[in-house]
């Protein structure tokens, strides 16, 4: 058997009035069971669109225009709508920033959970209730028996996100895609949810794709990281490598601009300018207008991801040879 998930040369476009825009450009990565991948990058980099592609939730005007997604050795693009629907929310679950994307405000937690179970498994209603209860316990919801009869609005934001995770677990998925699951939550609650997701990957034998703009959070949880910029992966590798030995000037810039570790009150390193929008992606390397080590080639040629060493670390930059740390 191959990887749990293998994304190959994925390309996603949005068909707009003035033509097609490429939102995701030639992205490839793999994920194994129990493995945790962090997708990081700033707003508009293409993190969510990548996540949505995996569960085939890209809706018009967006469409997958190239590449393939293999999940448990099946090519998702070759599945019928029915088969895909079965896979989504069964073998693959998605968690969103806003728990109310998943929760129905007018149904009790118990009703929503048992309905999900009954839609996917042939069990009795009372068995479905037992499964719901078991999952609520797994995500450490206090007094889970009581929660079953409550409505979403009776729960705090952190509790709701735990309930969403419990719902995601109902069908024993092998992959969870979590898109900014704690961005709206306080740090104390975020820490608890991150612990939980990590623990579940091990106990439930699941793969996790954690999408977030927060490098610090990702570095605590994941095994490997893919940094996205303007629709492409510009650097990827084991988490320790990316954090301690970033090679792409953008990744370096991101890490250096974080306040942690610096002398308090000193000026932060800043990356000049901002990420281009899809309509004005520059020729050559998309980062070149903001780059400080660029050369003439960066204006002409798109840099491909290149493996840097034996540690599965690769970066897409023409100028790495000029980089001190390369020697």
């Amino acid at each position: 058997m191959g990887h749990l998930l293998e994304v190959r040369n994925l390309e996603v476009k949005f068909a707009l009035r003035f033509g097609d825009l490429t939102a995701i450009d030639n992205i490839s990565f793999t994920l194994d069971k129990k493995e945790k991948l962090g997708l990081v990058g700033e707003s508009g980099a293409g993190k969510s669109v990548t996540g949505f592609s995996i569960i085939n939730l890209i809706s018009k005007p967006g469409y997958i225009s190239g590449g393939s997604i293999l999940f448990e050795d099946r090519d998702l693009s070759k599945l019928s709508t029915g088969e895909m629907r079965k896979l989504r929310g069964h073998r693959i679950s998605m968690i969103f920033q806003d728990p109310m994307m998943t929760l129905n405000p007018v149904l009790t937690i118990g009703t929503q959970m048992t309905e999900t179970v009954l839609a996917h498994m042939k069990v009795s209603k009372s068995d479905a209730m037992d499964i719901a209860l078991e999952k609520l316990k797994k995500v450490y919801i206090p007094s889970p028996e009581k929660r079953l009869f409550q409505y979403p609005h009776e729960c705090s934001g952190g509790m709701r996100q735990r309930i969403v995770i419990a719902i995601a677990l109902l069908t024993n998925p092998s992959l969870i895609v979590a898109d900014e699951p704690t961005t709206a939550l306080d740090v104390t609650i975020q820490a608890g949810i991150m612990d939980l997701l990590q623990e579940l990957c091990t106990t439930e034998d699941m793969g996790l794709i954690l999408i977030t703009h927060d490098l610090a959070v990702v570095s605590q949880v994941t095994d490997k990281i893919a940094v996205m910029y303007a629709g492409r992966i510009i650097e990827t590798g084991p988490t320790e490598e990316i954090v301690n030995n970033p090679r792409h000037p953008y990744t370096k810039g991101l890490i250096n601009s974080l306040p942690g570790g610096l002398q308090a009150g000193s000026r932060l390193a800043q990356i000049p300018g901002m990420m281009p929008t899809l309509t004005d992606i520059p020729d050559g390397c998309a980062f070149n207008p903001r780059c400080t080590i660029n050369g003439p080639i960066c204006l002409e040629k798109l840099p491909e991801l290149r493996v840097l060493d034996g540690k599965n670390h690769s970066a897409a930059c023409h100028m790495l040879e000029n980089d001190q740390r390369d020697k």
Binding site: V187, T188, A216, V217, S219, Q220, L258, G260, R267, M274
Partner: protein, 339 residues
């Protein structure tokens, strides 16, 4: 406390919101008698603190703990239920809007969402001119133009863009423009409520640097509200920690991060995600945050606190100054049973 040495002094400030709705919504029949129920959000409860000239005082705490309400009450945007606010020793919380005018230029505010706070129908020049002309009707137009150019330059927005509209700028540039607008009237004190939360990491650093530069160049005093505790550690002089509308700890940034004293501060700081630190041992809080509508008796933190005992359930802990200069409101600390 010598109020005239402080830029701002806040004493026992209380701000409640009545969210009962109309009279009919408030009425119900109990045991055959009509009863009137009011629903009060106790957003800020008995907060006392001072802000020294030139410092950055940050306010932290979870969502809904009253940070923005505290700031707005200080600025006179909300009338307090009780308590007092002093600006350089002058009491300002009970002033009429006319009497408040001279203080309005001294105190400015920057918001999280620069888009919502900038008038979309005005170009940058008008956005920047407006507050100056409002507060100084006799100012000459060439003086205004000069001032606009000076401030745009300071915040790093090219003055030749002054005829553009807010939607033509990126989020980071819009935040620069709202900082520029605040600086136009030469304020002494700026409240920045989540000024970088809506911005990308690479842009956050630009704005934080700008705020630090402006403070240095103009001797500004900041009240900074942000949920990013790494940012707080980097830019603050002192930090106030709030929980359910109450002040639980106030200390210099060094003291607070090196030796947090209040059980809530300890939990909060232990949960900060740090780059490359795997599975930190953060303190797990039990229970759930009560609502500010039903404020718990005693210490507002007691139902989540691992150190709570009977005294905590009935008696409100007072804010106490420790030898280190830290202020903390906790019975266990006062009794010397928690370090």
């Amino acid at each position: 406390m010598d109020k005239s040495n402080h830029l701002l002094t806040i004493e026992n400030l209380v701000k409640h919101f009545d969210i009962s709705g109309g009279l009919l919504d408030q009425l119900s029949i109990e045991k055959g008698r009509v009863k009137r129920h009011r629903t009060i959000v106790k957003a800020v409860n008995d907060v006392s603190l001072f802000i020294k000239p030139g410092e950055t005082l940050s306010v932290v705490g979870e969502s809904g703990c009253g940070k923005s309400t505290l700031a707005r009450t200080i600025l006179g945007l909300y009338p307090p239920e009780s308590g007092q606010v002093f600006y350089r020793g002058d009491r300002i919380d009970h002033l009429s809007s006319q009497q408040m005018l001279p203080y309005r230029t001294k105190m400015q505010m920057i918001f999280q969402d620069p888009y919502a706070s900038l008038n979309p129908r005005m170009n940058v020049e008008r956005i920047l001119e407006e507050p100056v002309i409002f507060h100084n009707k006799s100012i000459r137009s060439d003086e205004v133009t000069e001032k606009v150019a000076e401030v745009m330059d300071l915040v790093g927005v090219d003055p030749k863009w002054s005829d553009r509209y807010p939607h033509e700028f990126s989020g980071g540039q819009r935040q620069r423009i709202s900082i520029a607008r605040a600086l136009m009237v030469d304020p002494e004190f700026i409240v920045a409520d989540e000024p970088v939360s809506a911005l990308d990491v690479s842009i956050q650093a630009q704005i934080l640097n700008l705020l630090m530069d402006a403070q240095e160049k103009r001797g500004l005093t900041y009240l900074l509200i942000t949920h990013d505790l790494s940012v707080v550690e980097h830019v603050s002089t002192r930090v106030a920690v709030m929980y359910l509308g109450c002040l639980c700890e106030l200390a210099t940034v060094k003291e607070l991060y090196n030796s947090p004293r209040h059980p809530y501060t300890k939990a909060l700081l232990s949960a900060i995600p740090r780059l490359g630190v795997r599975q930190p041992k953060h303190i797990r809080l039990k229970g759930e945050v009560p609502t500010p509508i039903n404020l718990p008796p005693g210490c507002v933190f007691h139902n989540r606190c691992t150190y709570a005992d009977d005294r905590c359930i009935v008696e409100v802990p007072k804010l106490l100054e420790l030898p280190s200069g830290t202020f903390v409101a906790c019975h266990r600390v006062e009794e010397g049973r928690l370090d």
